[in-house]
Amino acid sequence: MSIFIDKNTKLLVQGITGRDGSFHTKQMIEYGTNVVAGVTPGKGGQTFEGTVPIYDTVADAVKATGANTAVIYVPPPFAADAMMEAAEAGIALVVCITEGVPVLDMTRVYPFVKEKGARLIGPNCPGLITPGASKVGIIPGRICAAGPVGVVSRSGTLTYEIVYQLTRAGIGQTTCVGIGGDPINGTNFIDCLAAYEKDPATKAVALMGEIGGTDEQEAARFVKEHMTKPVVGFIAGQTAPPGRRMGHAGAIISGSAGTAAEKLEAFRAAGMGVAQRPIDFVSLIRERLAKQ
C-alpha cells in the first residue's frame, strides 16, 4: 500500500520533449512507472523514444489514454497554465516539479485546481515515489526501498539524504512525498499526514520541515489531535538569519515568525519525536517501529 500513487498510476508528462522532461521521463520509465502519454504543443502525433505517444493538449492526451496523473516539467512562465490545463482536463493528481513559479500565479492556480477537484503537489518539488511501484518526479529510485515508513518533506536533496540513510539502515518506505519549498503549494503536511494515517501499510511517518510559515506547527497540532501513528520531525534552518530567503522561496523567517525553535517546540508539545540531526531519524523511527 501507499499514498497518492501506485501500480494503477497512468502518468502523463507535460513538457516531455524538453531537456529535463525527457531525461526524467526515461528515468521514470526505467523505474517501472506507467507513462502513457506526453504533451508538447506542436508535437502531437510524434512519439517519445518510439514508445510514448505525444499530444498537443492535455485534453487530447486524457481522452486517448485515460491518464489519471500528470507531472509538469515546463519552464516557470508556463507552469501555472500547465497546472490549470491538467486540472481542467480531469487529471486527479497534478505534480509540478518546476522551480521559480511566481507566487501571484499560485494565488490563481490554487483555487482553480481545488474547484476542479484535483490534488496538486508542488510546485518547486521533487515529486513522489512509491518504492517498487511508481515514481512521479525526480527522486532517485535507487535510494529508496519498500517498507513501513511514510516520508513527507519540503526539501529535495535533504529528503534524499534522509531516505538514503533509512534505506541503508534497512528501513523502507511506503511513499516519499516532496511537497515543495514555495510559500503557496498544492499539498501540505496535513494532507500527507492524513493520507498516511489512513494507509494501512504505513506504520510511522518521517516529516522534514524547514523555517518559514506555520505549516509545521499546524502539522504538529494535527498529529496531536488526529494521528495514532508515530511521527518524527526535523527542521532545517536552525542557523538561518531572519529576513533572508534561504534558497527556497518559502524558507524565510518573517519578523519573529517561522523560526526553527518555535516549530521544534510545536513538535515536542505534540509528542512527536524530534530528530536533531538527519541521522537521528534512523534510531527514532526504529524505536517507534519496534514498539508496534
Partner: protein, 381 residues
C-alpha cells in the same frame, strides 16, 4: 528582491497614490540644494535595504538647508545593519495629524494576497499584531475578482471615521493593489499612511518587495536592482547562478539543494562550529558552478575550513570533483578542505579526487565534525 523607498514611491506615484515629492542625492552638496529648493523643514532618509533606519539614525529632520547638508554628511557613508548608505532621499516634512498602516502580504495559510490595515501606524506592525490584534483588519483578496470597491471602503472606514478620509483611503488601497499586481510584488507597505491637519490622506513611506520569480518576465522591475546596496559576495554569487548568503562563521559550506544546505549549516553548529555562509550550487551542477562557488567562499577572509556536502541525485558527483580539481589547480587553497560526496557516479568522483591528492568522505556527520575541527585548529594556529 528589495527596492529602495524612492523607487517604490515612484511606482506608487505612477499608480496615482498621493506621495509627497522627493529627490535623491549622493552628496551633501546636492542635499543642501534640494533642501533649498523645497524651503522649510525637510527629511533626509537613508536609502538602504534594511529595516529600522530611523532607530539607526538614518532618518533625520532638518530645519535649514545647512542643517540638511550637515546631517547628510553623517548619513551618507554610515552603515546600517552592515550596509553602507550611498544614497539619501530628501523630502519636505509633512505635517502629521494621525498615523496609520496599510500593507499587502502573501498569506501562506489562506494562499491569497491579504490586506492588513491598522489605525495604529508608524510603528512596527508586528508589535501591533502581537499586543493589540483588534487594531488590525485583515482582508484576503479573491484572485478571481481582485480588490472590490466595497472591500476597500470597509478598510477605509476601519481606518477613519470621517467619510471623506475613508473614501480617500479606499482609493489609495485600490491604487496600492494595482501597484502590487503590476510590480509582481510579494509585499507592499505604506507605513505610515498619514492624515494632515488639513484632512488630506498621504502615503508618507513606501516599501515594495518584488518576488524574485517575477524578474524574468518583468525587465522593468529587474532594472531597479541596486547592486551597490547588496553584499558584494552575494552579487557575484547571483551573477554565477548560485544562491549564497553570507554569515559570520568560519566554516565555508558548499552544498547542493537548499534544504540540505540549511541542514549542513545546522550540523556545523551542532558540532560546535559556526557556518560562514549558506551556498546552494543547485540541482544540475556543472564544474563551472563549483569553480565559482570556491572563488566566492575563499574570498571571505573569515573562512578557516571549507566543507563540501554533495548528495548526488541529479547532481553528478564527478562533475563536482572535476570542478574542485580545476578550481584548486588555478588557485591553490590556503585553507583545509573536507569533501563529502555520495550518490550518482560516486566511484568516479572518489577516483578523480584521490588521483589529485584529495581525500573524499561519504558520511555527512563525520565530514562536518572534521571541518569544524580543522576550522578551530586554523583559528588557534
Amino acid at each position: 528582491m528589495n527596492i529602495h523607498e524612492y523607487q517604490a514611491k515612484e511606482i506608487f506615484r505612477r499608480h496615482g497614490m498621493p506621495v509627497p515629492p522627493g529627490e535623491i542625492a549622493t552628496t551633501p552638496q546636492r542635499v543642501e540644494e534640494i533642501a533649498q529648493q523645497y524651503g522649510g523643514t525637510v527629511v533626509v532618509k537613508a536609502q538602504v535595504h534594511a529595516g529600522g533606519r530611523g532607530k539607526a539614525g538614518g532618518v533625520k529632520l532638518a530645519k535649514t538647508p545647512a542643517e540638511a547638508r550637515e546631517l547628510a554628511t553623517k548619513i551618507l557613508g554610515m552603515k546600517i545593519k552592515g550596509l553602507t548608505v550611498h544614497t539619501v532621499l530628501v523630502t519636505p516634512a509633512a505635517e502629521i495629524a494621525t498615523e496609520a498602516y496599510a500593507g499587502i502580504i502573501i498569506d501562506r495559510a489562506s494562499k491569497r494576497a491579504v490586506f492588513m490595515v491598522s489605525p495604529a501606524g508608524g510603528i512596527d506592525i508586528e508589535e501591533v499584531a502581537a499586543k493589540t490584534p483588534e487594531k488590525i483588519m485583515r482582508l484576503p483578496v479573491d484572485p478571481r475578482y481582485g480588490l472590490l470597491p466595497f472591500e476597500a471602503l470597509q478598510m477605509g472606514f476601519f481606518l477613519y471615521r470621517d467619510v471623506k478620509q475613508a473614501r480617500a483611503a479606499a482609493k489609495i488601497l485600490q491604487q496600492l493593489w494595482s501597484a502590487f499586481l503590476a510590480s509582481g510584488a510579494s509585499l507592499a507597505e505604506v507605513n505610515p499612511l498619514v492624515t494632515t491637519p488639513a484632512g488630506e490622506v498621504l502615503a508618507l513611506d513606501a516599501k515594495l518587495v518584488v518576488d524574485d520569480n517575477e524578474l524574468d518576465r518583468r525587465a522593468d522591475m529587474a532594472a531597479l536592482r541596486d547592486e551597490t546596496a547588496e553584499e558584494p559576495s552575494e552579487v557575484s554569487a547571483r551573477n554565477a547562478n548560485l544562491t549564497f548568503i553570507k554569515l559570520d562563521g568560519d566554516v565555508g559550506c558548499v552544498v547542493n539543494g537548499a534544504g540540505l544546505a540549511m541542514a549542513t549549516m545546522d550540523l556545523v553548529k551542532y558540532y560546535g562550529g559556526e557556518p560562514a555562509n549558506f551556498l546552494d550550487i543547485g540541482g544540475s551542477s556543472n564544474p563551472e558552478k563549483v569553480v565559482n562557488a570556491l572563488r566566492i567562499i575563499t574570498s571571505d577572509p573569515n573562512v578557516k575550513a571549507i566543507l563540501f556536502n554533495i548528495f548526488g541525485g541529479i547532481t553528478r558527483t564527478d562533475d563536482v570533483a572535476n570542478g574542485i580539481v580545476t578550481a584548486t589547480k588555478a588557485n591553490p587553497l590556503k585553507v583545509p578542505i573536507v569533501i563529502r560526496l555520495t550518490g550518482t557516479n560516486e566511484e568516479i568522483a572518489v577516483k578523480i579526487l584521490t588521483e589529485n591528492g584529495f581525500s573524499a568522505m561519504t558520511d555527512m556527520d563525520e565530514a562536518v565534525q572534521r571541518a569544524v575541527k580543522l576550522a578551530k585548529g586554523g583559528a588557534t594556529a
